[in-house]
């Protein structure tokens, strides 16, 4: 019953859809990024120097790492509001472990384990406790922050060895170490999402949970794994913050979840799940990084910056919705 004419027209339409899709997705974001960069180039001569551009990559590295974890969570159709608090708690755990043992390696492991464990608690409560992720991670946002504050008595843990600062503040040549770490996380996550069954299963779950179940996908396992990844990468982010400041602040990364979710959504992910890419999240984080950095250089007041950022995010997301 298929007429040849119809087939042709479907193909033609498909090319147009492909271009539209690209515009809606990564290409559109690239365009926005280009516009922002050109604008700031005109407004500030210092903006487009290699030194400043590398500086931007350092500034966005932590947001990007945590946002990559969030991408997996959002891909499965869930949300993780606890990332900022988990980062702070992991930073405190890392600092405490370093001070107790004198070993930086043990400190890093302690921070990662803390993030992983809290992510596991989130995932288990959501999947087996059958509570919505919004609620579980909102509660965890308070609980983890509270533990960090109680643990430290509200005061920063300092006196960390200078060499620990390399991770967050060091450079290899001109390239910041944290940029290199973020790039590594990006590459691993990119392959994990697109070239392993794990990523493909998580996307399926977000796209249609019932169909995923009937496709013999272990749905519960992968919903938990998404929160484990988010917890682990929040932990890594917390360690980097601690390293950069050479002290663990129990109040660090407050409100981080908003920037992180904004980066993922800017990157084209859908809050209802199934749609979203690691590359998109990278571009989303870059847009936010460029806005922050550029406005600082131009000298926009910190208060005003928030308004501008909010508006730009709204416009970017709405522009992608349209054609």
């Amino acid at each position: 019953m298929e007429k040849p004419l119809k087939k042709d027209s479907i193909y033609k339409n498909d090319h147009i859809t492909k271009v539209r899709k690209l515009l809606k997705g990564e290409l559109g974001l690239l365009l926005i990024l280009a516009v922002l960069i050109v604008t700031f180039m005109i407004l500030s001569p210092y903006f487009f120097t290699s030194r400043n551009l590398l500086n931007i990559t350092r500034q966005i590295s932590i947001t990007l790492i945590v946002a990559i974890g969030m991408t997996f969570v959002i891909l499965t159709g869930e949300i993780d509001l606890s990332v900022g608090s988990l980062a702070a708690l992991a930073g405190v755990a890392a600092a405490a472990a370093i001070n107790a043992t004198g070993s930086i390696l043990i400190g890093i492991i302690a921070g990662l384990v803390m993030g992983f464990a809290m992510g596991a608690i989130n995932g288990l409560l959501i999947v087996y406790g059958k509570v919505q992720s919004f609620i579980v991670t909102l509660a965890m946002l308070g609980i983890a922050r509270g533990i960090a504050l109680v643990w430290t008595g509200g005061k920063p843990i300092s006196g960390l060895p200078i060499s620990f600062g390399t991770m967050g503040a060091g450079y290899v040549g001109m390239v910041p170490v944290s940029t290199i770490i973020a790039a590594g996380v990006f590459l691993i996550a990119y392959y994990f999402m697109n070239r392993t069954k794990h990523g493909i299963y998580m996307r399926s779950i977000g796209a249609n949970t019932e169909a995923a179940k009937l496709s013999a996908i272990p749905v519960k396992k992968y919903r938990i794994i998404a929160f484990l990844i988010s917890g682990l990468l929040s932990g890594l982010g917390g360690i980097l913050i601690t390293s950069r400041l050479l002290s663990a602040q129990p109040t660090a990364a407050e409100g981080m979840e908003l920037n992180v979710i904004a980066a993922v959504i800017l990157g084209g992910a859908s809050l209802s799940g199934g749609i979203g890419t690691i590359l998109g999240t990278l571009l989303g984080a870059m847009v936010i990084g460029v806005i922050d950095n550029g406005m600082n250089l131009v000298g926009v007041s910190a208060f005003f910056q928030q308004i501008v950022k909010g508006i730009i995010i709204l416009i970017a997301v709405m522009a992608k919705r349209g054609e």
């Binding site: 479907i10 697109n194 070239r195 069954k197 299963y201 399926s204 179940k213 009937l214 013999a216 199934g274």
Partner: protein, 504 residues
């Protein structure tokens, strides 16, 4: 069939030459229908005969392509459900539209609550009192203060009817109202319907149960292939006349004759099996390379059986044997490990990842096969998708296309392809051709027969009796969860299946 034989009143509703096309498929081909004052008029017909489409046009859910609706001899426009309500047309669908967390009275008056002031404060005392009046008029013992979630299925349906009456519906459509009702509740329903008749509420009654038609209806219109194939006075006909009218003449050409046949080797044996949503335990066996049809009207328990066998619903009792080895299947993953595949009835909700590509959909159940070392090979994955898509003739031949852009028939092929790439030994198909056009249907039949010829055992769960009769080697007819008839290819006919399924 004399039209003036009874002194039942004048015609209150007349539908003239109603036509409706959905994406190239003509669902209604010029339907004529009339409803008289004070009658209960049954709509009969197989699934897809056009009953629901007609009702949806009458209630403003769908827009007709051509035709006229006359109420009391005046042509009216029914553009949407709200305008239908204003014209006194109300429908009670199979899916209930009650708000579970509100009480009976609030539900009855939902959307037309009497308000006391500018701020919209609802006059609760008033609606409680009025609801109680309504319920008592019809002799229904339901406290209007009860939350709907605390009512049984039958009571909920009755509340739904009262809700329709509270807006003074003159024309009431009841779509399979006895689904899930106990015998006592059905008695109550019929008593209410008798009462309503006396209060000149005119009813259109859709059902698959012939005995109900003979109990409560005055006339019946039989739908077949988008047309009204005849209107009968119930007092003048018997059930076999109605069954014959529903079937029309049989078309054998849709189905190609099967080349191969079942091997005398048992593949699956089901002994006293019952899952949580099944009402009765069931036993049957399935041979290697056999196409077994399990049929019955909607609600007979076909889908529940399929979901139970595939490990979606929990097993309550009984035992499954695959190649004579007892197996315990608790999840779809375990079913897949036992080489069982399941193609669900609801393609869009349960079968497909609509936003994702054909490639993603086809390879998802067998992704392990395209991993080389640790990463998925893009080339192998695309190759698997391409091979399967070509084998099933998915059109257009573009594996990167999102599944939602395919036609229904091609979507169904993709769902099939999803499982075929894993080489299953048992395939359970739930309503494999629902909502797809004739051309795609015969392609699907061909695929099913080819699979069986290759030695795959196939279970077809279907309420389309012609289809079951046309493609299956053996047929089990279910009624209220029980196997009541077993037919083989040699002795089966659509008429036998239909009679057994309807119990008429």
């Amino acid at each position: 069939m004399s039209d003036q034989k009874n002194d039942i009143g004048k015609t209150v509703l007349k539908l003239e030459n109603i036509k409706k096309t959905f994406g190239g498929i003509q669902a209604l081909k010029g339907v004529e229908f009339s409803l008289r004052e004070g009658e209960v008029h049954a709509l009969l017909g197989e699934n897809g005969a056009g009953k629901s489409t007609l009702i949806k046009i009458l209630t403003g859910v769908h827009k007709m392509d051509t035709g006229r609706i006359l109420i009391n001899d005046k042509a009216v426009e029914v553009d949407n459900p709200i305008s239908a309500r204003f014209k006194g047309i109300a429908a009670i669908y199979q899916e209930l539209s009650l708000v579970e967390s509100l009480n009976v009275a609030q539900n009855i008056y939902l959307g037309h609550e009497p308000v006391r002031n500018f701020f919209g404060a609802v006059d609760f005392k008033n609606i409680l009192k009025k609801s109680l009046d309504y319920l008592q008029t019809f002799g229904i013992e339901i406290n209007p203060n009860t939350l709907v979630q605390d009512l049984g299925m039958g009571e909920k349906r009755i509340v739904e009817i009262v809700k329709a009456l509270s807006i003074d519906a003159r024309i009431l459509v009841l779509d399979e109202p006895t689904t899930g009702m106990s015998a006592a509740e059905i008695d109550t329903l019929f008593r209410i319907m008798d009462d309503m008749k006396k209060k000149s509420v005119n009813m259109i009654y859709i059902t698959h149960h012939l005995e109900e038609v003979f109990r409560i209806c005055d006339r019946a219109s039989v739908f077949r292939d988008g047309e009204n194939a005849g209107t009968f006075n119930i007092s003048e006909v018997d059930s076999s006349t109605l069954v014959k009218a529903m079937l029309g003449k049989e078309l054998k050409d849709e189905f190609t004759t099967r080349m191969g046949m079942a091997e005398p080797v048992e593949m699956l044996r089901v002994e006293g099996f019952r899952s949580e949503r099944m009402s009765q335990p069931i036993s049957f066996s399935l041979k290697r390379g056999e196409i077994l049809g399990i049929t019955g009207i909607i609600g007979a328990g076909k889908s529940e059986l399929g979901l139970g066998l595939f490990g979606v619903d929990k097993k309550v009792e009984g035992q499954l044997y695959i190649k004579d080895v007892p197996v315990d299947i608790k999840t779809p993953i375990e079913a897949q490990n036992n080489a069982i595949a399941f193609i669900p009835e609801d393609r869009k909700e349960l079968g497909l990842f609509l936003d994702l590509s054909v490639e993603h959909n086809i390879t998802i159940t067998n992704i392990d096969a395209v991993i080389s070392k640790t990463l998925i090979s893009k080339r192998k994955r695309a190759g698997m998708a391409q091979d399967t898509a070509e084998r099933l003739k998915v059109k257009p031949n573009d594996i990167k296309m999102a599944a939602q852009n395919l036609s229904g028939g091609n979507q169904q092929k993709v769902v099939l392809g999803k499982w075929l790439s894993g080489n299953p030994e048992i395939i359970i198909l739930d309503e494999p051709t629902r909502g797809i056009d004739v051309g795609a249907k015969s392609e699907i039949y061909k695929i099913i027969q080819n699979l069986a010829d290759e030695g795959v055992s196939v279970i077809v769960l279907s309420a389309e009796f012609k289809e079951v009769n046309g493609i299956c080697d053996r047929i089990l007819v279910l009624r209220k969860g029980r196997i009541i008839e077993e037919l083989t290819r040699e002795n089966s006919s659509t008429e036998k299946i239909l009679s057994a399924a309807l119990g008429g």
